[in-house]
């Protein structure tokens, strides 16, 4: 597809450089290219072309020796990613090897990485929710962290803009705490979910259960096909039905003729020119040859993922910025956040034994936040709030393992669907704590000679108090919804499991306490933009990717307009 910059020396100067090609990098590339800027996308991993590089997309279980499981030998190189429980033979090639970016965990922190063109946009959960002013005002109201420099109105139209192009399916219900998106038709709830929804909404006024809002096409859009309910998304989608950089934004960027992608390009540091007082380019290590190269541009977009971007900024030192580019506030690397996860309840549903469904819907249900949203719902047990994801389905043959039976009849009975089961699991907001941080260890270098990262972060009292409530509410909702054999659970274990890492180069009004301004520019180096999760000032309790898309599109268009005005 794109121009690939293989001959590094041929062309070292572009209008714009985008570091990273995941969800936010893809959007930056698209917007900048469409505005006419010659744009170089630096990708630390290999090229992954849409469809062509999805070798496992049609595998059935019996097509691989271990029926989709990954061999212990293969997982050895990916012990950190393997902790997710999501890594198997059919998607292992999209997960990074540990030695590509080693880090020290002062406290347990699972950092999931996908180092290839498209990054984690090939693996993400696709849940897309707008933030509201409940989120943007939270820091200002309770005093944790600094105030966001923007409000919902600043980003509202940009949400619509990215939603129209990405394709978000869902149902509009008009909740102030969870603004509706521009929606494609919603996916359907199944029989049991419809019943549970009715009961929860009746028993708990103010709580809603809706179909998940997701970046899956429920009707064709811009030449992409609609979701076929195969639920093999993490191998790459042959229809381009879910949003990924590979299927959506990078092809659009490429269609302009302005895009160049350079793979195997580790961004080592941003080059700061002391006289000009701005960034002039990016120093790159070719990860295969270890050759060091310099690329130049008028603007630089950092989209290397929350922690990756901050690692790059910390490593970009100069006389002016001894502690990392744009780190006048000392906040660079601090306020790392994630969502809590894996706390909830499950149970069995009696009824609908003659009902079933068709398709493996890559989506579930969502229960939007209902605590601390107004005076009536305010609790003194914790600040902020949480929402739930979940869903219902019928058990399959796997349920046989626990049945006290064996033999021919047992085997043949397992051919039929088993009990209906329903579960919900909470996602809670995490406060921005200064002491939750990433830093560089200059004594321990990676295989390219770059300082490695130290991650020192943990959930604290407020998050644990929310988790407690998540489980209590989950059990209560399932009880009132008539489920049986209810089991509450709390499987929280350290940060990173939500794979929603945010913060470490936060936006803010004051350069003394934040790294980025209201349009994602580094306060002191206005031609460097950070629009991935690193920019987040608080974490909300909803999935963040849609907000990265909107912030990126907004910042990229601001960058173009500032360039035209010769302000950068």
């Amino acid at each position: 597809m794109a121009n690939f910059n293989i001959d590094a020396k041929k062309d070292m100067t572009y209008d714009a450089i985008v570091i990273g090609s995941g969800i936010s990098g893809g959007w930056a590339a698209k917007e900048l290219c469409e505005s006419g800027l010659k744009t170089l996308v630096l990708e630390r991993g290999r090229l992954v072309e849409h469809v062509i590089d999805y070798p496992t997309m049609n595998n059935d279980p019996w097509d691989t020796e271990l029926r989709g499981a990954a061999a212990a030998e293969e997982l050895k190189e990916r012990q950190i990613n393997a902790r997710t429980g999501f890594v198997g033979e059919n998607n292992i090639h999209f997960f990074a090897k540990d030695d590509e970016n080693p880090y020290k965990e002062v406290k347990p922190f699972m950092w999931v990485r996908a180092n290839q063109m498209g990054g984690r946009s090939l693996l993400w959960g696709k849940q897309c929710y707008r933030w509201s002013d409940l989120d943007f005002e939270a820091n200002a109201k309770d005093g944790h962290g600094v105030d966001w420099p923007i409000r919902y109105n600043d980003i509202k139209d940009w949400y619509t803009y990215v939603e129209k192009f990405a394709g978000i399916s869902g149902e509009a219900i008009g909740l102030p705490q969870l603004p509706d998106s521009h929606f494609l038709p919603p996916m359907e709830l199944n029989c049991v979910e419809k019943d549970v929804k009715k009961r929860i909404e009746k028993e708990f006024p103010g709580r809603n259960m809706i179909i998940g809002r997701v970046a899956h096409l429920t009707e064709p859009l811009n030449g992409r096909g609609q979701c076929q309910s195969r639920n093999r998304c993490d191998r790459g989608c042959p229809y381009g039905a879910y949003f990924s950089s590979n299927a959506v934004t990078l092809p659009a960027a490429n269609a302009t003729g302005n895009l160049t992608i350079r793979p195997f390009s580790l961004a080592d540091s941003i080059i700061y020119d002391e006289e000009k007082g701005k960034a002039v380019g990016v120093r790159v290590i070719d990860s295969e040859t270890k050759e060091v190269l310099e690329y130049y541009a008028k603007i630089v977009f950092c989209n290397a993922s929350t922690i990756g971007t901050t690692q790059l900024l910390l490593n970009s030192t100069s006389n002016r910025f001894e502690n990392g580019l744009g780190n006048d506030s000392g906040e660079l690397g601090h306020n790392l956040m994630d969502h809590t996860y894996r706390v909830g309840a499950m149970g069995k549903f009696e009824g609908h034994e003659d009902g079933y469904y068709k398709g493996r819907r890559p989506n579930g249900i969502y229960i939007p936040r209902y605590r601390n949203i107004d005076e009536k719902s305010t609790t003194d047990k914790f600040l902020r709030g949480y929402g739930y994801q979940g869903g219902a389905g019928r058990a399959n043959w796997g349920a046989g393992a626990n049945q006290e039976a064996f033999g021919g009849e047992f085997k043949d009975a397992l051919m039929k669907p088993g009990d209906w089961e329903f579960f919900i699991t909470g996602f809670a907001e995490c406060l921005p704590y200064h002491e939750n941080q990433v830093s560089l260890d200059k004594d321990k270098l990676d295989k390219w000679g770059r300082p490695t990262l130290v991650i020192d972060a943990e959930f604290k009292e407020n998050e644990l108090a929310i988790n407690k409530q998540i489980q209590i509410d989950a059990v209560e909702m399932l009880e009132k919804a008539g489920l049986k054999d209810i089991v509450g659970f709390d499987n929280e274990h350290g940060m990173g499991y939500g794979i929603h890492e945010m913060g470490t180069a936060r936006m803010g009004k004051d350069p003394k306490t934040s790294v980025l301004n209201a349009t994602n520019q580094v306060h002191a180096v206005k031609n460097v933009f950070v629009t991935d999760g690193a920019c987040m000032t608080s974490s909300s309790c909803v999935n963040p990717s849609l907000t990265y898309m909107a912030l990126t599109a907004r910042a990229a268009n601001h960058a173009v307009s500032e360039l035209k005005k010769k302000n950068l």
Binding site: E188, G344, K358, A405, D490
Partner: protein
Amino acid sequence: MQRREALKQTALFGVATALFPSLLQSCKETSRLNWQPQFLSVKHAELVSSLVDTLLPKTETPGALEMKVDMFIDLVYGKLNGEAGQETMDKGMDDFDARCKEKFGDRFADLSPENKAEFLKMEEANSPKFNGSIWGTAAGKQEPVGFYRNLKSTALWGYFSSEEIGLKVLTYDPVPGPYQGCIPLAEVGNTYSL
């Protein structure tokens, strides 16, 4: 590295024994196996074969042995479990047969069908169970379930994910199209294989 070497040696061993089947004869009598384990000892492979046959025998639908579930478990043991898992399973299999001998005077593979069934009933009653799981993670703290429950679970996996069962017995629907949330079970019949 050591592990790679071990695998290589096992593979060589496999070739050699294929050429000289008599080497495979176990200490007791002629081997019950009609396949060469790549990773399990012959004694353990015989236990696995007889166990999966008792758990999932042939009826109107194929049995576990026809679907080569024992050979699949050999692969799981060798390639999926890792070294620690292999040690646990070795010990589990030895303990299992020791209990069999204590109760019926013989290892499991050599018991009568009635004694095999009686022994498995005891195992069922005494084995801990799996927690429910969500998105591949056990809900709550999962206590070890022991060799029997683990093996049963792996046998079910091997059987129901095999090609013949997946394509011909269960409902195979690789490209379902738009999700339909509520349809009569009668329209589908057996559970989906994917």
